[in-house]
């Protein structure tokens, strides 16, 4: 099935769901003024369903908008790929969404035109109310093959691996450079589906340990704190890095947290696979392995 055919399916289904009142809005993607850039949009009338698009550039996560946007009455319909479904699971787990107020239209993804989609292991949604089509394992639109995803430097933790490959001094300089360039716009936070605090500590009048000044030292505190705040819940979608206007490689930070957590636990770990799992770093168990303490 071509992207064009899939887009038509999406528009038809969205219009039908809105028309019979099953949902009060559909969260999907529309084309922006710029070629190769789409944005998340809320469609509230059946006739507007023609705004919805599906192509190799429908990259942004829909789920985070659901947590931010308020809608009144009824169910919210949401177009969800594998990554969106993991984000939905996280938001459900963090009590930021209610499952019964969602109608999830599952869209198995063929991979998008973005290097961060390359190691994706979850193209079909994990949670949905209906699937519009089946995953086509042969399709390879914009993404790369599974074999390629396992190649050195192109695996699940590719960004962390890139930085880890540097020597310790080079690595220090690398991060110093990153924090010197950060403009603390918080786009990474706003895009992140697991950043769901009512009031982020960086916005607080007096957080005490984090000033609002923009300099390398405070940027560094923000960067490290962000990595730890989201690290164990990170669904590895790469939105933080994608939205960074300075092009900073910050996905590597959360990748490193997950990589380290897996090594410490001696077991694989992936956030967002369901809506029940305790946060990796946020549970207490008398039998915890504590070799690192």
């Amino acid at each position: 099935m071509t992207n064009g055919q899939k887009q038509q399916l999406i528009r038809d289904r969205a219009a039908a769901l809105l028309a019979d009142g099953a949902v009060s809005c559909i969260v999907g993607w529309r084309q922006t003024r710029f070629a190769g850039k789409t944005a998340v949009c809320f469609v509230r009338a059946p006739e507007d369903a023609t705004l919805l698009v599906w192509n190799e550039y429908t990259i942004p996560l829909t789920a985070k908008y659901l947590a931010d946007e308020r809608w009144t009455g009824g169910k919210a319909g949401i177009l969800a790929r594998g990554c969106d479904s993991k984000a939905i699971n996280r938001l459900l787990r963090d009590n930021q969404l209610e499952r019964e107020k969602l109608y999830i239209v599952g869209l198995p993804c063929e991979g998008k035109a973005d290097e961060r989609c390359r190691p994706c292991r979850q193209k079909t949604p994990l949670v949905y109310d209906e699937l519009l089509w089946e995953e086509d394992s042969a399709a390879d639109g914009g993404g790369t093959s599974a074999a390629d995803a396992d190649a050195p430097g192109r695996g699940r933790f590719f960004r962390a691996d890139e930085v880890s490959a540097l020597g310790i001094d080079a690595r220090y300089d690398y991060w110093e450079d990153v924090y010197a360039r950060c403009i603390r716009c918080y786009a990474c936070r706003n895009a992140c589906p697991v950043c769901s605090c009512r009031e982020c500590y960086v916005d607080m009048h007096r957080a005490g340990f984090q000033s609002k000044r923009q300099n390398a030292a405070d940027n560094r505190v923000f960067g490290v704190t962000r990595a730890f705040h989201v690290g164990d819940r990170c669904i590895e979608c790469g939105e933080c890095e994608r939205v960074c206007p300075m092009g900073l490689p910050i996905l590597g930070q959360t990748q490193k947290v997950i990589q380290t957590a897996e090594a410490l636990a001696g077991a694989p770990y992936e956030a967002g696979l369901n809506a029940e799992d305790e946060n990796f770093l946020g549970k207490f168990d008398l039998d915890d392995k504590d070799a690192f303490m």
Partner: protein, 661 residues
């Protein structure tokens, strides 16, 4: 600026000899906010406390910093002192210049400098301290004792005698525990049953004790003074309200299955009493071996029961009860040596038995009516080898710890063998002989004089040769390999935590150590309390113990419970987690990390910030009774919506700033 008073303690020469207390007081005087500073030989003493109280009045002090020993030592002392003043007792900071300074540094000048730093930090925090008020919670005047061994029996009796209600819970059909299985008790050789059965009967008859046998804990909610426990009364298929314990059913039951009480050395029926002196003295049906319950055929007990007590349709029942205090007395189990020691035959040789099996063999009410007959052929053994530390002091195969009671059990077993089988020879293989109890060394000495041969060394292998079991090992004192051709081998096995105790501790929120024993609140100073308020421990559940120690600990833990139950209500520490609901997003990250299960999510009314409509939203709430103020949640909360009263973020940051700015 609020007036702070700083009081530097010499602690005799403990502090004064290691650093310059006068210079510390002088430096304190110059700190911003400090209105008065003084030093004194013993601040905790009566005149020391008076000195502080006088200074508070004289200088109009508003906050107090005491530079002295660890707050664990005297914080409570000084809080009590402040209750006599106008100052709230939580406007107090202790700068620990003893344990964290005087005791650990040799350089006088640098130790003085560090003391000044510690005082400066304490003053900075004191200026940010806020008055706190203790809350009170009511107390349910009833105790739950979990485990009906001698520890639980003693604890329940002590609580009941003090006039409080006690519920004694036992998962077996009778109380008595391991002590009921023993023949004699060291070092006095009292008959175990003769001294324990009267206590069991007392439990059964005591108006303040409710006995729940064949029962287990299913769930625990609540906190000190206010626990709600769900108890599972397991189906026993006999109506104990009408059963008189006549025994007709036991005589006619056609099933024969291994008696666990006799450690597999005899058979019992499917409807059975655990042992003749069981309390309650009423039978139960073991569903796993009962023919009627397994395949619907038989029903003999129902036919012979004159009162119609048998109820094959019985089911587990759940009962919810409230308690103010809980005593854990779950005891131990002997280690499964067969899994650890293949070289001892791993259970293939019938005549290699454990100490508890020997207790049954030598017991007049046991399977051989007290005749020491070896299991394989019923003959009286002429040569017996006793091996100690089987599973204990052996980190490679079993446990690193010493099981404490086995040295004396071995001496007792050796004595009983020599006494009952004249002419028999007894060899005891040991690593060390540990007899630190009243009359213990004398007993061990007598056993050796009676003829027991003690061989210092571990048995490396047991093998069969003809009719005998050869115990081969090194006599490390002779430096030679020795072989003992024994007719019977007794293994003094390690004690291990009772099966299922780990799950129970999980329900209670109590910590256990690496070996699975319950962790006490403080190994020396709070030995019968757990880390959970209102939950106490008694007996071998805390670690291997003999009967005298178990009973002593049971009474100690009963005293703690009685102390709690004597109060109508109790004060809780106000230094607990506080949630700023406006910031809380209800994500629930704090809940699972709380070791005390003190946090729950609740819905509160709110207005939707977008639409202004009335909505409900989730926020975390802290239970003041359960919260112990550990602070784990404050770190788990990414928003920083949780603060720890008495250790607020801004208070700690003030300390940090005072140190390095």
């Amino acid at each position: 600026m609020s007036k702070v008073g700083v009081f530097v303690c010499h602690c005799g020469t403990n502090i004064a000899s290691a650093l310059d207390v006068f210079k510390v007081a002088e430096a304190a005087r110059a700190l911003p906010g400090v209105a008065h500073a003084a030093e004194y030989k013993y601040m905790c003493s009566e005149p020391g406390q008076q000195l502080i109280l006088d200074a508070i009045n004289e200088h109009g002090l508003k906050r107090v910093v005491i530079a002295s020993c660890s707050p664990r030592m005297h914080e409570t002392t000084f809080r009590k002192m402040l209750k006599k003043s106008k100052i709230n007792e939580y406007l107090l900071e202790i700068a620990n210049i003893r344990e964290q300074d005087a005791w650990v540094h040799a350089d006088f000048e640098k130790a003085t400098e560090k003391a000044i730093d510690l005082v400066r930090m304490a003053v900075a925090k004191a200026l940010k301290d806020e008055p706190l008020k203790a809350q009170t919670i009511p107390i349910t005047k009833r105790a739950l004792v979990i485990g009906g061994g001698i520890a639980g029996i003693q604890a329940a009796l002590d609580i009941a005698d003090a006039g409080h209600e006690a519920v004694l819970l036992e998962r077996e059909p009778s109380i008595g525990g391991h002590m009921a299985m023993l023949d004699k008790t060291f070092p006095t050789l009292d008959c175990s049953a003769c001294i324990s059965t009267p206590k069991m009967v007392d439990v059964g008859a005591h108006p303040n004790i409710t006995l729940l046998t064949s029962a287990e804990v299913d769930a625990v909610k609540g906190y000190i003074g206010n626990f709600t426990v769900t108890i599972r009364k397991k189906a026993n298929y006999v109506n104990h309200d009408i059963c008189t314990g006549c025994g007709a059913c036991e005589q006619k039951c056609p099933v024969k299955t291994d008696s666990a009480f006799n450690r597999g050395l005899s058979k019992r029926t499917a409807i059975y009493k655990l042992f003749p002196q069981a309390v309650p003295s009423k039978p139960v049906i073991d569903a796993e071996s009962c023919l009627k319950l397994k395949n619907g055929k038989c029903g003999v007990c129902e036919k012979v029961c004159p009162l119609g007590c048998i109820d094959y349709g019985d089911e587990d029942r759940l009962v919810e009860m409230d308690f103010g205090a809980i005593i854990v007395a779950t005891g131990y189990r002997p280690a499964k040596w067969q899994r650890m020691y293949d070289e001892y035959g791993a259970g293939r040789y019938a005549d290699v038995i454990d100490g508890l099996q020997f207790e049954r063999l030598v017991n007049a009410s046991g399977p051989t009516e007290g005749h020491i007959a070896r299991p394989s052929d019923g003959k009286a053994p002429k040569t017996v080898a006793i091996i100690k530390c089987v599973g204990s002091r052996d980190p490679k195969k079993g446990h690193a710890y010493c099981s404490r009671a086995c040295c004396m059990a071995a001496a007792k077993h050796a004595h009983q063998l020599i006494d009952k089988l004249p002419g028999s020879r007894v060899f005891v293989f040991y690593i060390d002989v540990r007899t630190p109890g009243k009359g213990y060394e004398e007993f061990y000495d007598q056993t050796r004089k009676d003829g027991a041969v003690y061989v210092r060394g571990r048995v490396s292998r047991i093998y069969k040769e003809g009719d005998t079991l050869v115990c081969q090992g090194e006599d490390t004192l002779l430096g030679k390999q020795v072989r003992v051709h024994a007719d019977l081998v007794i293994l003094e096995t390690a004690m291990e935590p009772s099966p299922g105790s780990g799950a129970l501790l999980g329900l209670l929120g109590c910590a256990k150590d690496a070996d699975g024993w319950v962790t006490e609140a403080h190994p020396k100073l709070r030995p019968v309390e757990t880390q959970v308020g209102g939950v106490f421990l008694a007996g071998a559940c805390q670690g291997p113990k003999d009967i005298p120690d178990t009973v002593a600990q049971a009474s100690a833990s009963a005293a703690k419970a009685i102390g709690l139950l004597n109060k109508d209500e109790m004060e809780t520490s106000p230094m607990i987690a506080k949630i700023e609901e406006d910031k809380c997003s209800g994500c629930g990250a704090c809940g699972p990390i709380c070791p005390y299960k003190a946090i729950a999510l609740e819905k509160i009314p709110a207005r939707d910030p977008g639409t202004g409509k009335k909505i409900e939203r989730l926020v975390a709430r802290v239970n003041a009774g359960l919260c112990q103020g550990c602070g784990a949640c404050t770190v788990a909360c990414r928003t920083g919506a949780i603060d720890l009263l008495g250790f607020r973020n801004n208070q700690i940051l003030e300390e940090v700033d005072a140190l390095w700015l």
